[in-house]
């Protein structure tokens, strides 16, 4: 075994504690904040330009959503079709109900083959089920070969962005990590560092017994898996070693190659702004008789691990439509400030905030993340398959309250709010009192004092003071002015709202 450093003890290198504590750490890291801001801005700009270049983007999004919706609604059929065709193509297909099953099957294959080294290309699913740790524990070297993943593996950390995993590492840190691996000082120069990684990983590709990839899409009609990547390492690990294992989330299916065109249009453009990733590989089984390369044996492990819990749930089934592009991370004002590690789980950003509790069925443990959101809907706007993530965050909050995990202060405040708001006289009296009561607290039109129940709000921002003349006092006057100008626009506005509401209705969910 080489001196490869692996993930820190306790599993994934994920930081525990509350999202507030993790965010506080992230906010103190100036490099991280700058890097996250720069990267997300670049990716977001790239996505917008690529969508514009493609044209009629809303129609593409709608088509993407329709295909995902149809596929997930008939997942039992398509998954079987995929498995049957993959077996015809010579692949061994396995079904793993849990992450532990996926790990067990992987280890079985590795042990039976007497494998000593596994080379891996980027796979969020393998992070989800912690395959590296399991292989290591079994005495099998596991080497990440995506440049970013290689770097964070050497650092013993988890990815902080779904597309650019080592976003949080600077060049000097990377030089230090790779120098330790090289046993010689490498300059903090991108070319030199990447050159070292290329040479080192070349040796690994050529000597490894097993190559592991993820699977972006699985084409049911031919039993092929499809992998998108830019470096060529996924091609390496699926071409050179004797055995190829593909880890596949059960929802990765597309029915046909024609459908793949839609996904190939949406995924790279939404992820990095590329028209297509440098490599898109469709792999169908092991090498054919007579082929001179490609694996002799191919295994596809289809993993549930909490995904099926979303099926049939009208609020969360759309989560399975996700194509893992990361566009919602780049669009999210929260992610852009705190980066991926503050989310404390494999998947970060808006998709992570919803997917993590959904897959783990423990709203309780992750509930603080659902609250760390402004519900602005930027994630939904960016999503190439229109997953209403901001609505799901609200559903999560509701679930949390339904399960009795409420804040006493908040509950009392809501009760008081109801008492006051349900009676006009009470409201007016309360406001008159508050206007007097606030006087000692107001400075320059804002309340900053961090005292009592106000603290929850004023610890992070100023509360505006109550207006001297409330809006309701001006309303009669305003209404008269509006009645004269706005009448004809009302019908139009209503229609627009209705159209919008219709567009949000899931169609054909139960149709066959």
């Amino acid at each position: 075994m080489s001196g490869t450093v692996r993930r820190s003890a306790g599993g994934s290198g994920v930081v525990r504690g509350s999202v507030k504590e993790r965010a506080r750490i992230a906010l103190k890291d100036d490099f991280l904040r700058g890097a996250v801001r720069y990267t997300t801005e670049k990716l977001r700009g790239g996505r917008k330009a690529a969508a514009l270049e493609q044209g009629r983007w809303e129609e593409w999004r709608e088509r993407g959503r329709s295909i995902r919706l149809h596929t997930i609604a008939h997942l039992d059929y398509y998954l079987k079709q995929f498995a049957d065709n993959a077996r015809t193509g010579g692949a061994h297909v396995h079904f793993a109900a849990s992450g532990a099953d996926a790990v067990r099957i992987t280890l079985d294959i590795a042990r039976s083959a007497g494998a000593r080294t596994v080379v891996k290309s980027k796979s969020m699913l393998s992070e989800e089920v912690h395959i590296n740790e399991a292989l290591e524990a079994a005495g099998i070297e596991s080497v990440e070969t995506d440049l970013g993943e290689y770097i964070i593996q050497l650092a013993g950390e988890a990815p902080s962005h779904i597309i650019i995993p080592a976003i949080h590492k600077n060049r000097a840190q990377i030089a230090e990590l790779l120098s330790k691996e090289a046993g010689a000082q490498l300059p903090p120069d991108t070319k030199a560092l990447a050159g070292f990684a290329r040479r080192r990983l070349r040796e690994k590709f050529l000597s490894a017994d097993i190559g592991m990839t993820g699977c972006n899409f699985a084409v049911a009609e031919t039993g092929s898996i499809v992998v998108f990547e830019n470096e060529g390492n996924a091609r390496m690990v699926s071409t050179v070693p004797r055995i190829h294992i593909a880890l596949m989330g059960m929802e990765r299916i597309v029915p046909t190659w024609e459908d793949l065109e839609v996904m190939a249009t949406l995924l790279p453009r939404s992820a990095t702004g590329q028209k297509l990733t440098v490599y898109m590989s469709g792999i169908t089984g092991p090498r054919r008789d007579g082929d001179g390369d490609g694996p002799e044996e191919m295994h596809v492990i289809i993993v549930d691990n909490g995904r099926s819990l979303q099926l049939g749930d009208p609020e969360f089934q759309d989560l399975l439509h996700c194509i893992r592009c990361g566009a919602c991370l780049n669009a999210c004002p929260v992610y852009r400030h705190i980066g991926g590690h503050a989310y404390g789980s494999t998947y970060s950003g808006p998709i992570g905030a919803v997917l993590t509790p959904a897959l783990n069925r423990n709203v309780a443990e992750w509930d603080d993340i659902a609250n760390a959101s402004s519900l602005c809907g930027a994630c939904w706007e960016a999503c190439p398959v229109k997953i209403p993530l901001h609505d799901m965050l609200v559903y999560l909050r509701r679930k949390k309250v339904e399960r009795g995990r409420k804040n006493t202060w908040e509950a009392a405040a809501m009760k008081g709010f109801r008492v006051v708001m349900s009676n006009r006289k009470r409201l007016e009296a309360a406001l008159a009192l508050a206007r007097i009561g606030q006087i000692p607290l107001v400075r320059d039109g804002a309340i900053r004092a961090k005292i009592g129940p106000l603290k929850g709000w004023t610890a992070y921002r100023h509360a505006p003071s109550l207006a001297a003349r409330p809006f309701r006092a001006s309303w009669e006057e305003l209404r008269r002015g509006l009645a004269q100008t706005a009448a004809p626009k009302k019908a139009e506005a209503l229609q627009k709202l209705e159209r919008f509401a219709r567009s949000r209705q899931p169609e054909g969910r139960d149709s066959q």
Partner: protein
Amino acid sequence: MTTSDREQWLERLYRQSLQDEAAFLQNIARRLGRAEPLAEPPRHPFRGAPDFWREHSLSAEDNIALFMANWTGAGGHAIRLPELRAAGQYVADLARERGARSLVCQNEPELLLWRLDEALPDHDVLVWAADRPGRLEAAAKADIGVVMAEYAAAHTGSIVVTSSPDKGRSVSLLPDVLVAVVPVERLHTKMGDFLGRFAEMARERMPAGIHFISGPSRSADIENDLTIGVHGPGVVHALLVG
């Protein structure tokens, strides 16, 4: 584990897989509100790209111009040549210019016609042979890999290569430089123009590897700094012939 042990082990795995599959699919069907997994193919009303896109088609000349713009935009070199022989000349010149020592070519009649071994007597010119020992290591050491594109798509600037006994997946992957010959009649406007053909192939004749390549290998994993050639070829030439 001996070969026959392993066969037996795989057989056990297969039986286990069928069992797991039944439970797995049953669970999905139940969650979707069905008593049994769906056996009949569902009607798929949204198959493939939107209609306006299916109709999208450029002239042959526009396809060539767009492909070349996209390929060079991604960091590749693209050149149009009148005929196949000129492409052979281009490869020979490239090998000399780059000071290459060895080349590996797919075993395709068009490429063999060039007689590169005669044009480059001081170079190792390997033709991919599925039974040659050490072929992967040789491809990894080769400076230049030469392939024929099966298809190409102008809209994304992509070439498509497929595997067979005569066509190694390594040839387009392991050398530092990739040269792809693209006969212009194989160039389409978009991938949707030929993707359906992969589905029509008989399953057992389906190539194990179908690879879309859209430029040099790249990474932006170190401080967003673009690195070219991180694992795959860093220099890619597309020769449009015809």
